[in-house]
Amino acid sequence: MEKIELLAEQLRSADEETRRLAVVGLSGHPAGKTKDILFTALGDVSWRVRKEAVDALLAAEIPAEIIEEFVLLLESDNAGLRNSAVETLERLGVRAMPVLRRHVTDDDHDVRKFVIDILGSIGDAEAVPLLVNALDDPDPNVCAAAAENLGRIGDVQAVPHLLQALRKNDIWLRYTILESLSKIGKPVPMAIITPLVGENLLKKAAFDCLGAIGDAEAAPLLIEGIRERVKNIREAAVAALMKVRERLPEAVAKQLVDEKLMALNGSPSVEGLLSSLDTADRGLKEALLKLLGIIGDERAIGRLLQCFSDDRLRKYCLPAFKAMGEKAATSLIRLFAETDEEERSFIAYICGELSFPGSEQVLRDGMRDASPLLRKVSVKAAGRAGLSGLVQEIAPLLDDAAPEVRKGAVEALSRLAAEDGDAVLKIAGRLASAELPEKRCNSAILFASLGDTDKLSLLIKDDDAVVRKTAVNSLAALKKESSVGQLVMALADEEADVRIAAAGALGEIGGAAVLEPLLLAMKDEDPWVKCAARKSLGKLGHEGARQEIVELLATGVDGLVTISALQTLSGIGGEGIPELVKKALAHPDEEVVKAAIDILSRQGDGWLDEFREDLLAHPHWDVRRSFIKVLAAERGADAVPYLRSVLDSEKDDLVREQILDIMDRYR
């Protein structure tokens, strides 16, 4: 028996695994020889066998006549077989389009609906006219499927036809059209949508649609919707209102939305909104928190604190607490004594962010708590709130067992240096003579916040390299010319990390005195020191670096060195430099190419046409994206024809989105 016959025999086995393995065995044979057997397998009782059959069929070259036969399978009474045919046609994608086009007007309404769903899944805009015609199909399910799949494809050309179909007296169709208009997102006249809010069955879809495409005109309707008794309609109004609000200019949003919402403070509507906070829908939760923040009703305090545990929601809770002001402060401070470690940490954090009256005692207690989390949050909050009265209580936390608490204490004292410099100076002095290098590093950070270069100059001579590096970085932050001598000495440090920091620091400070040492640092044995020196010279625009860099580029060095060399050259400027940068557009490292595009973009548009074709077809998506950004910025609407020419071949979603955005802008 031939192998294929044997496999066909096995496909009749009662054992599922035997049948599945038979289909696996058929994969890779020419479709003509295995088609009938695999078509049988497409309707197998086991989903595993059916899935394997779809994969086996798609692994072979499928001629057009076989594609036609898949469509015939859509008429089958076997649901498994129909599903397999749908999956195969969807996965065939645009290759199935010619056949599907013929069957979009099939005599069987079920087949028409399947075909329309498959066209929607494929998502090709060429299907839009076919689906637009199907909006007039005599079968209501086919009409609704056409409307739904026009939304899935998302082509704006469908909008006028959808609006036309919205006049039909078919509630399900109109609901589906509203959903599709939301998905397409193209603004339509409000006068068409707003009357639909009055129809109970369409209310939710109409609110959703207003959220997607509505403008200021929609705001009063949506604010009214917040008072709705039906929960899901009310929630749709909340989500839509917040989306519309984001699109409005700030002043208009305040007047049209915020003022009206504030009037809800104390009203029964707030209870309804709070009950919706249990939703699992994150988008809705965010909208509710924003809304509650604007209303400022204190009944929300407990729920807001619970939402604080979700770090993505936190940013919406803070403004809400702020809007509630003193009421929030009193409630939160009372809660601090009663609640668990996590919520106490949240309250300490909020105290730091909003500097509530009464925060000092909360943070004092928090810093003494047994929980390292609460100690960390409290000490950082004390710094952010500028509570200089707590300096003496922060100091012991520099010896805390938990490293994150120690770090928080340094951060807080740095912030408080401006408020109580003397106290912080004493603490920094003690740390500077400590045994542990970490403490001496911390002293360097504190001396920097005090602007004390003298003390930092001592730490730059520390026996620990990490302390020396921290001191160098601290001096760099202060940018004082008097530090140059110390930093030049640091260029001779035995640790490369210290030399790198020193080369960078000298670039920050600048001035004539730093040039010679930096030129010498370019001869350092460590490539990263050279790189730092080169960057600094580039930043200072020093001519002396040019020749060496030009020679360096000619040797074909690696990515970062090339990038820093190019940036340095562009900083220095001069003859021949643009040519060198242009040469880098062909560099194999895409980061170098992007750096070159960035440099050239600051020198006019003379280079764009010469490299346009190559860069629009560059293998790396981010290079294409960087070039398109520059092209659009320089050429405006004139860039559109070039972008349109590459749109079809562009496979990267992000770049396609960018091109479509630009084309839309200049439409």
Binding site: S13, D15, E16, E17, T18, R20, L21, W47, R48, V49, K51, E52, D55, S309, D311, R312, E342, S345, F346, Y349, G352, P372, L373, K376, V377, K380, A381, E404, N473, W528, D558, G559, L560, E591, W621, D622, R625, L654
Partner: protein, 290 residues
């Protein structure tokens, strides 16, 4: 510490894609567009550690810094570590103790095979393999059997924790008191797992794409791989599940996380409806003995 009060640096779409692709080419771990938040959140702390102000700079750090290899290794720890705890997904463990183990033991007894090999792939800090060991000890059904529970993970850091076997209270959120009393000793506010449990478990470093190391593991009766393949793209998921298929004995079980399925990944396993859960089983080919 769960609450991180650091200021957040936003990650742009481009930065996400660049870093995501770099991680993928380094490790095969794939983060889809929904994971942008996860990367932003977990890598944000690396920016503050390296004193960087933007994710673009961090991308350059990963590409060019002389410590890039170390950094990539470190972020594997950060990106693949999920919070876990003992006795997670109780219904699946009930299927394991009440249905899967009795079935396998009866089947093996018949053939005179008294060995049981269980692999916890992506075992993180060890809660899963130790849970399996505690369950087997509690069942008492494997006396006189050679039981091997192998816990593997790509992250060195979590493996250290797994070997140390010392756990804080958050690891016990789903643990009955009787287990704590029987299998743990308190030590400075934490709990150390008993030697009897540790003896059954071997912890080992493993990249699921490392064919040579995988070959050393040998055939398994059960593979637990819960909430791990979520980190892979479709192609990598297919590869990993194919590896599991190769490593399981016929009739062996693959236990995935409750939100994971093999839909559109593999048809090689049957979905078995047990009383307590649905699990995947490697089919026995008719006529073959397992």
């Amino acid at each position: 510490m769960m609450f991180n009060a650091e200021p957040e640096i936003p990650m742009s779409e481009e930065e996400f894609r660049l870093i995501r692709d770099l991680v993928y080419s380094h490790s095969g771990l794939f983060f889809d567009n929904d994971s942008k938040y996860l990367l932003e959140k977990r890598l944000g702390r690396r920016l503050s550690l390296h004193r960087l102000s933007a994710f673009r700079d961090y991308y350059h750090f990963l590409r060019y810094n002389r410590e890039k290899e170390q950094e990539l290794s470190d972020i594997m720890d950060i990106l693949t570590t999920n919070e876990t705890y003992f006795f997670r997904e109780a219904f699946q463990l009930k299927a394991f103790t009440d249905e899967i183990i009795p079935e396998l033991i009866a089947e093996k007894e018949k053939k005179g095979d008294r060995s049981l090999r269980i692999w916890s792939a992506g075992c993180s800090s060890g809660e899963e393999p130790y849970t399996i060991a505690m369950l087997l000890l509690e069942m008492g059904c494997c006396k006189g059997w050679r039981v091997e529970i192998i816990g593997t993970d790509i992250s060195h850091r979590v493996l250290q924790q797994a070997r140390k076997a010392l756990y804080g209270k958050s690891a016990f959120r789903a643990t009955e008191e009787t287990y704590v009393k029987r299998f743990f000793q308190e030590q400075d506010g934490s709990f150390r797992i008993a030697d009897a449990v540790k003896e059954l478990v071997t912890i080992s470093h493993l990249n699921l794409f490392d064919q040579n190391r995988l070959a050393l593991l040998g055939r398994m009766d059960i593979i637990f791989c819960r909430n791990v393949i979520i980190y892979f793209d479709q192609a990598a998921k297919k590869r990993v599940v194919e590896i599991f298929n190769r490593m399981l004995r016929q009739g062996g079980y693959l236990l995935l996380g409750h939100s994971e399925s093999l839909m559109n990944i593999s048809t090689a396993f049957t979905l078995k409806h047990l009383k307590n859960d649905m699990v995947y089983q490697k089919p026995r080919i008719s006529g073959d003995t397992p």
